[in-house]
């Protein structure tokens, strides 16, 4: 019964085709598969977030060209919002750079985690440096979730497809937002903005590699808001380090108890 239900649901909401029986296929093909992976529910949700960003950028007085430039070159929504706030308040360049530095630290462990999954013995260094620009929450979560179905030597092409498609799609979203004059009704705006945390929560939970990651999630989710008023600017970093180390300690202790895997 449950199986039948699951089958109906998976045909109603198909996931990307899982083709483990076909080990490689060309890099171009996997790039396209990555692109198609990006144009799915997560991509749609990111659109919602960027409609919000476009509206804020327009209200702040940024031109369309500046908003598009900012999106393509930074590609990290929290950093973009922080920079927008700094520009609006007339902050100096060093002050703005420091604020952005603090919000972007979180990208480093994300890159550290994803690189060993994409790298093979023959992967060129510059490819990884180039692909690292695509690392932001949506593409990272998508990749960590789908990599298990992608042959290792095609993961860089696959990730390139995800990242470049997401950026291109969001630039189109900005063009559309700047082209429409009307503001969203508050109910729709709130519902749209709420898509982002909901999607992040479920996809992050699905992409977890080990049980410790679930612990890290619950800890981070509780600590972030608690530390936000106490350590402005450092709240994410502090929450990540405290909950991350705690979950890791739990992982070490339990795997030792299971006979040290």
């Amino acid at each position: 019964m449950r199986e039948c239900y699951a089958r109906i649901m998976s045909s109603a909401f198909p996931r990307e085709p899982v083709q483990t029986d076909e080990p490689t296929g060309s890099a171009g093909r996997w790039f396209l598969r990555g692109a198609r992976t990006a144009l799915s529910l997560p991509g749609l949700i990111l659109c919602g977030a960027f409609i919000g960003f476009g509206a804020i950028a327009r209200d702040t007085g940024l031109s369309l060209a500046e908003a598009m430039f900012m999106t393509a070159i930074i590609w990290a929504l929290p950093a973009q919002i922080v920079l927008l706030g700094a520009m609006a308040s007339g902050a100096s360049l060093p002050a703005a750079a420091i604020a952005v530095t603090l919000t972007s630290v979180r990208l480093m462990p994300m890159v550290v985690a994803i690189v060993p999954e994409m790298r093979t013995g023959r992967t060129r260094r510059w490819v990884l440096y180039l692909l690292s620009h695509f690392v932001a929450v949506t593409s990272w979560v998508l990749a960590m979730e789908r990599f298990r179905d992608v042959p290792r030597e095609r993961r860089t092409a696959f990730y390139g497809g995800i990242g470049s498609t997401l950026i291109a799609a969001m630039l189109v979203v900005l063009v559309i937002v700047y082209g429409t004059a009307a503001a969203l009704p508050p109910l729709a705006a709130a519902a749209l903005v709420f898509l982002t945390p909901a999607y992040f929560l479920f996809s992050l939970w699905s992409s977890a590699r080990e049980r410790a990651s679930h612990g890290a999630m619950l800890g981070g989710m509780a600590l972030g808001p608690v530390l936000h008023p106490v350590l402005p600017g450092f709240d994410l970093l502090a929450a990540g380090l405290i909950a991350g180390f705690a979950a890791f300690a739990f992982h070490v202790l339990t795997s030792r108890a299971e006979g040290g895997r």
Binding site: R106, V115, L128, L201, G215, A216, H251
Partner: protein, 118 residues
Amino acid sequence: MTMLQGDNAWWWPFVFIALAGWLPTDLWRWAGVALGGRLDETSRWLVLVRCIATALVAAVIGNLVVHPQGPLATLPVAVRIGALAAGFAVYLATGKRMIFGILAAEAALVMGMVATAT
């Protein structure tokens, strides 16, 4: 608003965005490649890094719900947290089908909005 209006050259906002936005962001990403290139996929340290990265993103989620900016900020915090919790419960109950979790969270949010508005 000196940054966005007034006598600055047209290219100045682009330079500002590149120096204050792009550089501090991509430097961290490149540092990640330099570090991650040395770690083996099965390394225990990678579990630690993954835990920290996961907790960081989770903290972003928590702040988006508890300390939001924009249209969500006008809603009571209980409605936001309750809607996310309801969505999460449905997501787990339906065998981790993301679409149902999202629909449930959105439905709970809209119901909460309507209920608290009256």
